[in-house]
């Protein structure tokens, strides 16, 4: 019977047809190879300015100012030495402080707020969300004048805490929105199961919800850090010498030293490096955050 022979037949590919599967699988591979080429070309194109910045930072000025850009050269650390000896560290400390403290503050305020807006919906959820986003739409320039004057009168100019407050307000709307979308992802059954197991709200929050939302919190924190570290407008207007941050340093470095390509490339590399590295390392979180948890 045919079926009995099926069972006793040799498994796998027959000798005669051995060539065929290889042919078909080759077609699959060339397809992915073309996309690969396109992908890499585009990737390198987009990355190129950053790459060139790093390459330039290891050149001497004479090597940087050549008619034909030099790719082969002997690298030097002299530009970096100049950058690091220009009193960089206080700026870094200020940036770090403002970034970390404001992000922590944002998380502290946004998490319960997002929780209230998602898992325990309040009557005016949409209006509140609208309000938060609308604060981001109001041009910062409109608010800067009174903020500057108020800070001046309260002797809070050039004070790192002023920056912290401003950065918190700057990132809060996005944080609330992002966290809310992460909270919405928590399956309702999880909460019901915790309720059946007798857990009070606070414990449900910490032991059930937070672990599920943890990647989302990390993503939000990362986005806040990126925006705070890179922020320039408030920093340049509110700070002077004590509380100045890295972006201010960069601009200051150029105006005092002038536009020397290799040097400013080194300065720019140092300034941008922390956030770029953080973004690379926590890429998945970044992508999640930016897609508002839409990506699985």
């Amino acid at each position: 019977m045919a079926s009995a022979e099926q069972i006793r037949a040799e498994p796998g590919l027959t000798a005669g047809a051995a060539g065929q599967p290889a042919r078909r699988r080759r077609k699959r591979r060339t397809n992915s190879a073309t996309w690969g080429i396109v992908g890499w070309v585009v990737g390198i194109l987009f990355f190129f300015p950053v790459l060139w910045m790093v390459v330039t930072s290891f050149k001497t000025e004479s090597q940087a100012y050549t008619n034909t850009p030099s790719i082969v050269f002997s690298p030097t650390l002299s530009q970096y030495r100049t950058v690091f000896s220009s009193g960089l560290w206080p700026y870094v400390a200020n940036s770090a402080f403002a970034t970390i403290v404001s992000t922590l503050l944002v998380l502290l305020l946004a998490t319960p707020c997002a929780f209230a807006l998602s898992l325990r919906p309040v009557k005016k959820t949409r209006d509140v969300l609208f309000f938060f986003i609308s604060t981001k739409m109001l041009p910062v320039v409109a608010a800067i004048i009174p903020i500057y004057i108020a800070a001046r009168d309260l002797h809070l100019l050039d004070n790192i805490f002023t920056l912290v407050i401003l950065y918190t307000a700057m990132n809060l709307p996005i944080a609330v929105w992002m966290m809310r979308s992460f909270f919405l992802e928590v399956p309702g059954e999880l909460l019901e199961a915790a309720q059946m197991d007798g857990a009070p709200l606070r414990r449900t929050m910490t032991e059930v919800i937070l672990p599920v939302v943890a990647p989302g919190i990390a993503a939000t924190a990362l986005i806040c850090c990126i925006f705070s570290w890179n922020e320039f407008f408030f920093a340049v207007n509110i700070t002077a010498t004590q509380a100045a941050t890295v972006p201010v340093f960069l601009v200051g470095f150029i105006s005092s030293e002038g536009l020397y390509f290799a040097q400013l490339a080194a300065a720019a590399t140092v300034a941008t490096l922390p956030v770029v590295l953080a973004g690379w390392v926590a890429q998945r979180q970044l992508v999640r955050g930016l897609s508002f948890g839409a990506i699985k």
């Binding site: 300015p49 940087a64 604060t135 004048i145 320039f232 972006p247 973004g279 992508v287």
Partner: protein
């Protein structure tokens, strides 16, 4: 008996009411700190800006401020430079957002395919978004677009374009290119999320139905991506319209005001010209305009995103 019954019935509702009220506050409670903080830090200054806009005040002459009513506003509307920068802002924002979105969609389509080193390419592609805006602006101004030593001119030399000063000749466009470079990754990631959320069996069904890849993209993928594109455009516009760093670093608004956008122009008035009253009035005008545009835009996002919640 009749005496007892009313007290029993009246006691119960009294006990129920405070419970409900307490529950209401328990729900609203977590919301409040963030809300109050935001109101104080963002709304108060705006109210003060409104107040300043009704006064004439120059920071260089302290004590000179006095009430002038709507004069500042009249000046603003008469100011041709304000009009010009407003137009610049619209061009810059609209152009950047739209072009970044188109490129973003294309890049997302590429990243949606499997190929060797896809993760690395993604890392490379998100980098522009991470770079400090002032740093990025600086980069583009010097190593990229410099007439003599910039890479762009080097690459274009074989095509006959040699020593070309992009930043002086095309200031607005140069700033836009920098902004597009920075914001494309954001658009790309949003669209990629959209692409990956599309169920694969729908694409297979379309293939069985005889649709070619381009048709599938047009008929099925694009409609699905609509909400992601809308979100990207609105969110991107919010950030780009306020972008100050690029203009400050690359062109200082020049030559003249050909590349100045509203944030930079107002900044010039306030901190370089010390004209607080006028700057404030401009700020208010910009705010009102933004609110009008934003109301329409927000209604859009909410429609698309409450759709998500229903489907979920």
């Amino acid at each position: 008996m009749t005496a007892i019954a009313p007290t029993v019935t009246s006691a119960q509702p009294a006990r129920a009411r405070p419970d409900r009220r307490r529950q209401g506050w328990a729900r609203r409670g977590p919301l409040l700190p963030a809300l109050v903080f935001t109101i104080i830090v963002t709304q108060l200054p705006f109210v003060v800006t409104l107040w300043y806009s009704l006064r004439s005040w120059s920071l260089v002459r302290p004590g000179s401020q006095h009430f002038v009513g709507l004069t500042n506003y009249a000046d603003v509307f008469k100011d041709s430079q304000f009009r010009q920068t407003a137009i610049n802002t619209v061009i810059m924002t609209g152009g950047t957002v739209l072009i970044a979105m188109v490129i973003g969609v294309a890049l997302a389509l590429v990243l949606d395919r499997k190929f060797l080193g896809r993760g690395v390419v993604r890392t490379l592609l998100i980098t522009p978004f991470l770079v400090m805006p002032v740093g990025a602006a600086l980069l583009w101004k010097t190593t990229m677009l410099d007439p003599t030593f910039g890479i762009v001119n080097f690459v274009l030399r074989p095509f006959g374009i040699g020593h070309f000063d992009w930043i002086s000749r095309f200031p607005l466009e140069s700033v836009m290119i920098e902004m597009i470079w920075q914001w494309t990754p954001f658009m790309m990631l949003l669209v990629l999320a959209g692409l990956q959320s599309q169920p694969k069996d729908i694409l297979e069904a379309a293939s069985c139905d005889g649709a070619r890849p381009l048709q599938i993209f047009r008929e099925l993928t694009l409609p699905h991506l609509r909400r992601y594109i809308e979100l990207g455009v609105v969110l991107g516009a919010i950030y780009v319209v306020n972008d100050f760093d690029a203009v400050y670093m690359m062109t200082q608004g020049g030559p003249g005001i050909s590349s100045a956008n509203l944030p930079y122009y107002i900044y010039q008035r306030a901190f370089l010209g010390f004209q607080v009253g006028q700057a404030a009035a401009m700020g208010v005008v910009v705010v009102v305009a933004t609110i009008i545009v934003a109301t329409f835009a927000l209604r859009l996002i909410f429609k698309t995103f409450s759709g998500t919640e229903q489907a979920a």
